[in-house]
């Protein structure tokens, strides 16, 4: 008598709980999406607003209430600022500095890290200890001493002077050393047995094995050089030689009244780096999270 009703109630309870679980899942999912969207608005909002300002020539950003959504769309700000600022020149400057910086960083971190990871020699642990200690002792005056040093070398105003102080970083050496350590010793030994020279072993056998590390350094340094503005301003005496980020501070000072131009110029300057980031996201993320573990 009791049995069937018991069974029914258990069954209905189960159905109930399954339904409530699904309901809970839907609720958590929607709460999750709402949070994600709000956060996206917070992080991307300033960019979207700047984009909207750049598309409305003649709109005053300081009008009250301020313009938020584009009520009309015109590209004149872009064409005008492109013609006026000589963007191709500044992009060219940025590319020269970035290419020079990347080449030096890559060459120097590869050659410095390789022996630290793969060769046996007296003083290896000493070199390593000194490198570690430079990471712990911060140099707050580095900028001043770098300026003096670059002056002694007679490199003020040159692109070599811009990239030389950051031509190799201890961080990159550590990252590269970590990658080299993952390459089996047999590879180097087999090269030696074949009678290959050290340089040949390095270039032909070892470097191809550490491509992931190379990719990470290229990406991180690309971002760093593209966005760098302080040191170029200090070293370069002629604003015509400025890279894009530095030129942007200059543009801001020169045309403070022309909001549309500044907005368009800023959008143009951040667009390349955002595109590079979006296309290389995967490697980039692996790189920065790998850096913590290393």
């Amino acid at each position: 008598m009791n049995q069937p009703s018991m069974g029914r109630s258990v069954q209905s309870l189960e159905r109930e709980s399954r339904r409530s679980r699904r309901l809970r899942r839907i609720v958590t999912l929607s709460v999750g999406y709402v949070l994600l969207l709000l956060l996206a608005l917070f992080m991307m909002g300033p960019f979207l607003w700047l984009l909207s300002v750049s598309l409305m020539p003649g709109k005053n950003v300081f009008a009250f209430p301020p313009p938020i959504f584009p009520t009309f769309v015109k590209l004149t700000n872009y064409t005008e600022v492109w013609g006026f600022i000589n963007f191709p020149k500044y992009i060219g400057n940025t590319l020269i500095i970035t290419a020079l910086g990347l080449a030096l960083n890559l060459a120097l971190s590869l050659t410095t890290a390789y022996p630290l990871a793969k060769m046996r020699f007296k003083g290896r642990s000493l070199v390593f200890a000194i490198l570690v200690s430079t990471m712990i002792i911060p140099s707050s005056t580095a900028l001043v001493v770098h300026y003096l040093t670059i002056g002694w070398f007679g490199l003020i105003g040159s692109y070599i002077g811009v990239v030389l102080p950051s031509a190799v970083s201890v961080f990159n050496i550590f990252l590269m050393r970590q990658t080299f350590m993952g390459v089996p010793d047999d590879i180097r030994d087999s090269g030696k047995i074949d009678g290959a020279s050290e340089v040949r072993i390095f270039l032909r056998l070892m470097v191809p094995m550490v491509k992931p590390g190379i990719a990470v350094i290229l990406l991180l340094e690309f971002m760093a050089y593209w966005n760098n503005f302080l040191w170029p301003i200090v070293v370069l005496d002629d604003p015509g030689k400025y890279p894009l980020a530095a030129a942007l501070t200059y543009l801001n000072g020169q045309f403070a009244y022309n909001f549309g131009w500044i907005a368009a110029g800023t959008i143009l300057s951040v667009l390349p780096i955002i595109l590079v980031f979006l296309f290389t996201q995967r490697y980039y993320m692996e790189g920065i999270s790998g850096a913590v573990k290393g």
């Binding site: 956060l39 430079t134 005056t141 001493v145 030389l164 980020a245």
Partner: protein
């Protein structure tokens, strides 16, 4: 045999490392070492250079601007716990496999790859008297009159912290995400089988296993906060008054703008000692906690 290999590697090892170590020596080691004798002189672009003993240090501690800058740099540390806590929450939020999650992660990361110049420009407009932020806060009834966020002494430093926070969230989120994803899924499954609630799982699995990441991120975030420079350099130049003057900015003003190399070096040494002591303390505290970060 072993001995011969040891000896035979020394020549190629040092030849490989020579260029990299030379650059490290000149631009990393030398600035640390050279700032000590430099700090004991009155070396500047004007006049003769004399040994002045500890005069620069005595002057520093009587220098109101320097004291104010130290106080501001220390105050800036407030941003660290907020930044870390919010980044952890964001990492937990984006640590799921729901559709579109990668686009959200990328969106949150875009402020990180954008140059500080562009970021400063956007927020400078948004935070001005007639800016969008005031408009929104007025509409929501949170404030009752327009506030010049960056031109008011009492708010300027905190507003810069907010910009640091906004630009840094994505970076630490990705690091913590890497930490969360390194936690084996079966730990959670086992906890669910044992009947642990969601809160208990966070308390007893997530938090302990994320600790090395929290330590690492807090340390780099702390170093960054004490030595913060870019935000005030592009937005306020230390003003209004000395409200946003930080020690790095003051060293820059003394060393690069006013070309007082000797005095700037002394200031830099004082800051280096403070940062060094703080990082040792953080390491000690962490060791007491019983977790080895490496």
């Amino acid at each position: 045999m072993r001995r011969r290999t040891l000896a035979s590697d020394a020549l190629p090892a040092w030849s490989f490392m020579a260029p990299g170590l030379l650059v490290i020596g000149v631009f990393v080691l030398f600035p640390i070492l050279y700032s000590i004798p430099l700090a004991l002189t009155n070396y500047s672009v004007l006049g003769e250079t004399d040994f002045v003993g500890l005069d620069n240090f005595v002057k520093a501690f009587k220098d109101d601007s320097f004291i104010a800058s130290l106080r501001n740099s220390m105050t800036y540390v407030i941003v660290v716990p907020v930044l870390q806590l919010l980044s952890i929450l964001m990492a937990i939020l984006v640590n799921s496999r729901i559709p579109g999650i990668k686009a959200f992660r990328a969106a949150y990361y875009i402020p990180v790859v954008t140059s500080m110049v562009a970021v400063a420009l956007m927020w400078n407009w948004l935070l001005s008297q007639n800016g969008l932020v005031n408009y929104i806060l007025l509409e929501l009834g949170i404030i009752h009159e327009k506030i010049g966020w960056l031109s008011t002494s009492s708010t300027a430093l905190y507003v810069l912290m907010f910009i640091t926070l906004w630009k840094g969230l994505g970076y630490y989120m990705m690091l913590y995400l890497a930490g969360l994803q390194a936690i084996p899924a079966d730990l959670y499954e086992a906890a669910i089988v044992d009947g642990a609630s969601a809160a208990q799982r966070v308390r007893h699995i997530t938090i302990p296993l994320l600790r090395p990441y929290v330590f690492f991120c807090s340390l780099i975030s702390l170093m960054g906060a004490i030595r913060v420079f870019d935000e005030m350099f592009v937005l306020t130049n230390g003003g209004p008054g000395n409200a946003t003057l930080t020690s790095s900015l003051y060293i820059y003003q003394e060393g690069i703008t006013k070309l007082n190399y000797g005095y700037a070096s002394a200031l830099g040494l004082i800051v280096s000692v403070i940062v060094g002591v703080v990082s040792i303390v953080v390491f000690r505290v962490n060791q007491k906690g019983g977790v080895n970060p490496y």
